[in-house]
């Protein structure tokens, strides 16, 4: 019988907790040092964690958040299916990579090990990492999970302490690069060996009763802390709507998220989300739940220990058959991308809730603001000049920009929402392993969401196929709609620059110009100086060949902006111009700036232009509502950076912070009370799509009908329909 939690010696508990974390770290260090995956070693896409006998997570160590939540599901399923036949025994280790059980796609692979003490199952440990090769069809071409190669529900890779060479060979020979897959598989076993052995030493040191009671306390404490945090925030409902596009057809889909916070509970409802797709851009239910957990861990529960306890107050409802709960046997190789859009949807709601709660240090606009999807992705096929297969992705997306915060710009090339401590590879290391020559990797011009506080900028690259005659890249149809970004309170969801394309070049021409010291470092330069022709669409399905000396240009996601860009300080805008974050076009177009002949901002002219632009926003507003200022009224809530909810004789009303004007009842969607303007994205984009297709979305701007301050920039997709005046903030009012 475990000791009662409240009687646990706090000193002993503190020592135990730190030691358990250190044990998991030891396991993760072992895993990372054996792994062959750059994404694991440098990108940190791995996790070592502990579970109670029922599969509930006790503690996850640092690493990839997605895995921690997922493995819990795998243990529960494996126990259900195989617990009695063939059963589990001391010294077993079980391999799993079925995304319908746990994880996001077949590349999320885990090895699970039961830990026994005195012949009794006392815990599980698991190590998970990303291995980007499971055989199957080329990435992006799958339409059923059967195309996605290796899918193992549960196989003993180690049995009673004995490594199963037959199982190992059978698994790795399904893949294109068996050496690499085997190293990764062995790295997980190494991680588990270390963790399990050390866990048993903890049992020796602290006693089994204490370890079991302390494990329970860890989970209970997490739940307690999560509930306390929720109680400290205002009640209400927040809604978000994110767009993205599929792999095979330029069809947009949407993720709809409604988040209701009441007391110490949080409820998510994804009703209204698009049906599953016929390509691999689908998320299974385990993947969806893992990404909701991940989003909350980053934003709301960052200071709550990583155990299953923190998710107890959270409930999630996802309709079956939608893109977030795809029905077997849908392909789901692209699930992490769907997951990112989902993370954005959740983060949008949470950011606005945190704003209403005054937690300004914890608020970022969106991290996934991709101006559009389509063209070359980042998965390659082919061979290097040494004849070694190129089977892995180039993960520059792990260096995307983060969203703007209320009091500062977003972090440029900050990282990736899934892996808080990840990073991107050095170009020199990439070139040691891939047949590329990079011509640039810099911050992307106009890649950050515009705002008073701008988003963090992503990076852009121009690189060349070099020293290979066998190279292809996954290639998706162009779909002109921002993917998964959101701005806050008048900031833009994404920057509108960047050009993602495969460029066919003339090798003799490019060689001779390079000898003269010429080379392009931006897509604008490729066009202007005629370095090549952009491929409009792939001639061979979901991937495109890249001949030697061919060029690829692309950009990574940037952060959303915060607040009206016309309010950005000119001094900081000048610094953006100097650093190439924005160019003159964007400075004029979105920030209302005027540049002098020396290329520097003209302060007086800029101020004048900004005033004119602000006035012009309300053009056509023929019948302004009867407005009155009320500065003395009691402030009831501050759920928006430009709008307060204040008391009035008519009940709570929205009031503009800038001009004091009352917009109308706070029980109403403020967007219906604001002045709105629609702008098609074609006119916002710096470059047309290489396919020459029109953009498929529009921006909907909302302004204070009195002073013209920008309150919100929404993306809307007419093709998908639905409510245009999306109701995002609905505070619970007395």
């Amino acid at each position: 019988m475990a000791a009662a939690v409240e009687t646990l010696d706090p000193v002993k508990y503190e020592i135990f907790m730190h030691r358990l974390w250190a044990v998991g770290e030891e396991g993760r260090i072992a895993l990372q040092r054996v792994s062959a995956s750059p994404i694991v070693v440098q990108g940190g896409e791995c996790m070592q964690s502990f579970y109670d006998p029922n599969g509930r997570m006790i503690l996850a160590c640092s690493g990839h958040l997605r895995f921690a939540a997922a493995t819990s599901d795998a243990i529960k399923k494996i126990v259900e299916w195989f617990g009695s036949d063939p059963g589990f025994h001391d010294g077993d280790q079980i391999f799993n990579n079925d995304p319908y059980v746990a994880g996001s796609h077949t590349y999320d692979q885990m090895v699970i090990k039961p830990i026994y003490f005195d012949g009794r199952l006392i815990a599980w440990t698991a190590s998970s990492s990303h291995t980007a090769d499971t055989g199957g069809v080329m990435r992006g071409a799958a339409t059923e999970i059967f195309h996605e190669g290796l899918r193992i529900l549960g196989l003993k890779i180690v049995e009673a302490g004995q490594f199963r060479n037959d199982v190992c060979k059978t698994i790795v020979e399904q893949c294109r690069d068996p050496y690499y897959v085997e190293l990764d598989l062995r790295s997980r076993i190494a991680g588990n060996n270390v963790s399990a052995q050390r866990f048993l030493e903890l049992v020796d040191q602290f006693g089994i009763e204490f370890v079991e009671a302390a494990s329970k306390k860890l989970m209970d404490d997490s739940e307690h802390m999560a509930r306390a945090k929720l109680r400290s925030l205002p009640d209400g409902t927040w809604r978000s709507r994110m767009f993205a596009s599929g792999m095979r057809r330029p069809e947009p889909y949407q993720i709809i998220c409604e988040m209701t916070k009441k007391g110490d509970t949080l409820r998510f409802d994804f009703n209204g989300t698009s049906p599953q797709l016929h390509d691999d851009q689908n998320s299974t239910l385990p993947s969806t739940l893992a990404h909701v957990t991940l989003a909350l861990t980053n934003t709301l529960f960052w200071d709550v220990p990583w155990s299953d306890g923190k998710m107890v107050p959270v409930s999630v409802s996802v309709p079956e058959g939608c893109i977030l709960n795809a029905k077997f046997p849908a392909a789901c190789g692209g699930a992490p991308r769907v997951g990112q859009i989902l993370v954005s949807a959740v983060s949008d709601c949470v950011a606005k809730m945190l704003y209403a709660g005054g937690r300004y240090d914890d608020i970022n606009a969106g991290w996934q603001g991709l101006w559009y999807e389509g063209g070359p992705g980042y998965f390659y096929g082919g061979h290097t000049r040494q004849g070694i297969p190129v089977a892995q992705g180039l993960y520059d997306i792990h260096g995307g920009g983060f969203g703007a915060a209320p009091l500062r710009d977003g972090v440029d090339s900050g990282g990736h929402s899934n892996i808080p401590s990840g990073g991107i590879s050095d170009v020199e290391w990439i070139e040691l392993q891939y047949p590329f020559l990079y011509l640039t990797r810099n911050h992307a011009p106009n890649g950050a969401g515009y705002g008073t506080q701008r988003g963090g900028d992503g990076t852009h690259r121009v690189y060349m196929a070099y020293g290979t005659d066998d190279l292809s890249v996954d290639f998706r149809p162009y779909a002109g709609i921002p993917n998964g970004g959101f701005g806050l309170f008048g900031g833009y969801p994404a920057g509108s620059g960047g050009l993602r394309a495969v460029w066919r070049t003339d090798p003799d021409d490019i060689k001779s110009r390079m000898i003269r010291g010429e080379y392009p470092t931006s897509p604008a330069q490729i066009i202007k100086e005629k370095w090549g022709e952009a491929l409009a669409r792939s001639e061979s399905g979901p991937h495109a060949s890249v001949p030697e000396w061919g060029l690829i240009s692309d950009f990574t996601q940037g952060g959303g902006g915060f607040g009206d860009p016309l309010e950005r300080s000119l001094e900081r805008l000048q610094a953006d111009l100097d650093a190439g974050i924005f160019n003159a076009w964007a400075a004029e177009r979105f920030f209302g700036a005027v540049l002098g002949e020396n290329g520097k901002l003209d302060e007086a002219a800029s101020k004048k232009s900004r005033a004119e632009l602000r006035a012009a926003r309300l053009k056509g507003l023929s019948n302004p509502p009867s407005l009155h200022a009320n500065n003395e009224a009691k402030v009831l809530a501050q759920p928006h950076a430009e709008l307060d909810i204040v008391e009035s004789n008519e009940g709570p009303v929205w009031r503009c912070r800038q001009c004091g004007t009352v917009l109308g009842s706070a029980r109403e969607n403020y967007k219906k009370l604001a002045w709105s303007v629609i702008e098609p994205l074609d006119t916002v984009s710096e470059f047309p799509l290489p396919s020459a297709d029109p953009f498929i979305g529009e921006f909907v701007y909302y302004f204070c009908p009195s002073c013209g301050i920008q309150l919100q920039v929404d993306v809307y997709c007419p093709q998908l329909g639905g409510e245009r005046q999306w109701w995002d903030i609905q505070i619970e009012l007395p």
Partner: protein, 696 residues
């Protein structure tokens, strides 16, 4: 006979330490407060105090000094405080944002796990170069060293001139892509800067500082060097001048982060980063050789941090890509792990969760622990040790700063009330929890290196380590702890015992077995560069000891294992042998079955160290010894493991070699307190070291 001296100097954050070793084997030490505005003053003060205690004029002491070896924190402080030169950067056009992109990982580098979890809050540090002072020049080297795009010299010259003449930069950093494989473009830039500006401008080139792949860290290395370079140079000139004025005519050498000395001319300023900790490690290795210890852990616990280093069979470990403060830097810096656990670490209660949380916040020097009486109200580790009776409030820093035990008690009382515990229980709990955290850190550090903690002897230094050492060592199965009389100036002592060391490393990319001559030619290239440097240091080829290392990994792996090779050149046999050595070492590190030998082995880096042995005095054992019980200075009650104990208190200065101490005892000197708790005994060896043995 008059002694001639070697003097080691270490400038620390609070004190500047000097250690004097005479040819007779005599050791003297002294301290003076560090003087941040002009650190040379603190150095001269400390030397003056040493002369006073030896009762000779400073001029005479320095006149009798053969060698001054110096570890300074000038570079370290310039980086930590971000006060340095105005730096310009020349890089490959198209990669100007590299120091700003920071491989994205710059957002978290150098931060603790707790800090990293607050993802919405974290930002990147400001780079060491303004974005407006970065110039890209057209050129591109491929990964095999072919110039796909030749350096455009006109554009290069314009960029350099612009930075120097228009922007008035004080230092120029040059780092081009793939210069590690072929530095010819960087050399062209060097030639131009040298010919046009000569010594008018400080400049630094990535291929000279690190022939290692990875442009982000390499770029940081040149930037850091430029940032601190002018300041370090200026300081050294100033100090050398003062020393000469005061009678010094001997050799002046600088301590580097690699644990070796270099002349001011051959020492790159960035190489002096972390020379203090390197001095500590060096002292440890000297003592290990003297005492015959094969495997040693060093534990340095001060006011805010706990630092752990590892020494095994003649070697210490270098960090593979060290992070200094928040920047990755490619310099051979001794791997020392650090956590926020020191005397000033704060404890607080979470009554809701019934938790007693210790750290990572620290009370720092101001306000410091509650018992300092400077306004601190939160209980710290030091407060706990005062309440437990381990620290004598009237003998802190030799009585120079009396402590306020009632303030410690009040702070602990607040926490105790919140948790419903007794004051002493909380104090004992803080002591135990911090011991647990330190044990965890040491274990992680040792395991990462492929060893088990129980195989090690622990060297405890820093003001607080010897109080906690038995506590955390017992947890790790360590049986022997050594505390040194030189512990208060341990780094300075190590610096005085150092040799001249230069290191060269080069990234490569070969599948094994490869043609032995390929490896030999790189070895030859590195060795001839090093011998050239060593001849500048006045070492002939025959005097120089070379050590050669290879980094190997299984194909497709990212992180390798570094092995010292026991031969000078490779033949076919050695090629086979090295792969076997690697497979063995790999198995030791990561366990059976972890490696995949079928994947093939790759050679990732070659490193050569050149060591110029400096003649040094050896420590002499004291002849006086005693088997009588030592003189007791006093007695006091201390609370340990749930009950009060009567402890004997001894004065370190009064104890003779051979004398043994039983638990429970306290040994005090002005800068160190040693606790011998139940289950441990102490004995002084002939060198005056206190050896603690843990029996249970």
């Amino acid at each position: 006979m008059r002694d001639t001296w070697t003097i080691g100097i270490d400038i620390g954050g609070t004190f500047t330490d000097v250690a004097l070793i005479g040819n007779s084997g005599a050791v003297h030490m002294n301290k003076a407060p560090t003087t941040p505005s002009d650190p040379a003053n603190g150095v001269m003060d400390a030397l003056r105090r040493a002369a006073e205690s030896l009762e000779v004029p400073l001029f005479e002491l320095l006149g009798d000094t053969q060698r001054i070896t110096h570890g300074s924190t000038i570079a370290t402080n310039a980086l930590l405080t971000r006060v340095g030169a105005k730096v310009g950067l020349i890089t490959t056009r198209g990669f100007e944002d590299t120091p700003y992109i920071m491989r994205a990982i710059g957002r978290v580098d150098g931060l603790s796990e707790d800090e990293i979890r607050h993802v919405m809050y974290l930002t990147k540090p400001a780079p060491l170069v303004e974005r407006s002072l970065i110039r890209g020049v057209p050129e591109r080297m491929d990964v095999e060293g072919t110039a796909v795009i030749p350096l455009q010299t006109d554009a290069m010259k314009a960029a350099v001139d612009d930075l120097v003449e228009k922007e008035n930069v004080e230092a120029l950093a040059v780092c081009l892509l793939n210069a590690w494989v072929n530095p010819v473009h960087e050399q062209q830039i060097l030639d131009y800067i040298e010919s046009r500006y000569g010594s008018r401008i400080y400049s630094s080139y990535s291929h000279q500082l690190a022939r290692v792949a990875g442009e982000y860290a390499r770029m940081n290395t040149v930037l850091a060097d430029c940032f601190v370079g002018p300041k370090v140079r200026q300081y050294l000139l100033h100090l050398e001048h003062q020393l000469h004025e005061s009678g010094f005519g001997g050799i002046f050498l600088l301590m580097q982060g690699n644990g070796g000395l270099a002349s001011p001319e051959q020492c790159t300023p960035v190489a002096t980063l972390q020379s203090g900790p390197a001095g500590g490690m060096l002292a440890a290795s000297q003592m290990a050789q003297l005492l015959g210890h094969q495997q040693v852990l060093t534990a340095d616990m001060g006011g805010t941090s706990f630092d752990v280093g590892l020494y095994s069979k003649g070697y210490w470990r270098y960090a593979s890509e060290p992070v200094f403060d928040r920047f990755r830097i490619l310099q051979p810096i001794i791997e020392i792990e650090s956590i926020g656990a020191g005397g000033g670490t704060i404890a607080h209660a979470d009554p809701q969760l019934n938790r007693l949380i210790v750290g990572p916040q620290s009370a720092g020097a101001d306000p410091g622990p509650a018992c300092y009486g400077q306004g601190g109200t939160m209980p710290t580790v030091t407060d706990a040790n005062v309440a437990l009776g381990i620290l004598d409030p009237d003998y802190f820093l030799g009585g120079a700063h009396p402590l306020h035990p009632e303030k410690a008690a009040a702070a602990l009382g607040e926490v105790a009330k919140e948790l419903g515990l007794g004051d002493l229980e909380v104090a004992a709990g803080i002591h135990q929890i911090i011991n647990g955290k330190m044990a965890d850190l040491i274990r992680r550090q040792v395991i990462r290196s492929g060893y088990l903690p129980a195989e090690f002897v622990l060297y405890a230094f820093g003001g607080a380590a010897a109080i906690h050492a038995v506590g955390f060592a017992r947890d790790l199965g360590i049986q022997t702890i050594v505390v040194f009389p030189t512990s208060p100036v341990f780094s300075a002592f190590g610096i005085a015992m150092a040799d001249v060391v230069h290191t060269k490393m080069m990234t490569c990319h070969y599948s094994l077995p490869t043609d032995p001559e390929v490896v030999n030619s790189t070895l030859k290239e590195l060795e001839s560069e090093l011998l050239e440097v060593m001849s500048q240091e006045n070492f002939s080829t025959s005097q120089v000891k070379l050590r050669r290392y290879l980094t190997l990994r299984f194909r497709r792996q990212m992180i390798g294992v570094e092995l010292e090779i026991p031969w000078a050149r490779f033949g076919e046999n050695e090629m086979d042998e090295i792969q076997k050595m690697f497979a063995d070492r790999y198995q030791t590190l990561y366990g059976k079955g972890a490696g995949n030998t079928d994947a093939g082995t790759e050679l990732g880096a070659i490193r050569v160290d050149a060591i110029g042995p400096v003649p040094k005095a050896s420590l002499r054992p004291q002849s006086a010894s005693s088997d009588k019980p030592p003189a007791i200075k006093g007695e006091r009650r201390i609370y340990l493991s749930g009950s009060w104990h009567e402890a004997q208190v001894y004065d370190w200065e009064e104890i003779l070699p051979g004398q043994t101490l039983k638990s429970v005892s306290i040994v005090e000197s002005p800068f160190t307190t040693v606790l011998i708790p139940p289950g441990a005994t102490g004995e002084f060896d002939p060198y005056g070291n206190l050896i603690l043995k843990i029996s249970e």
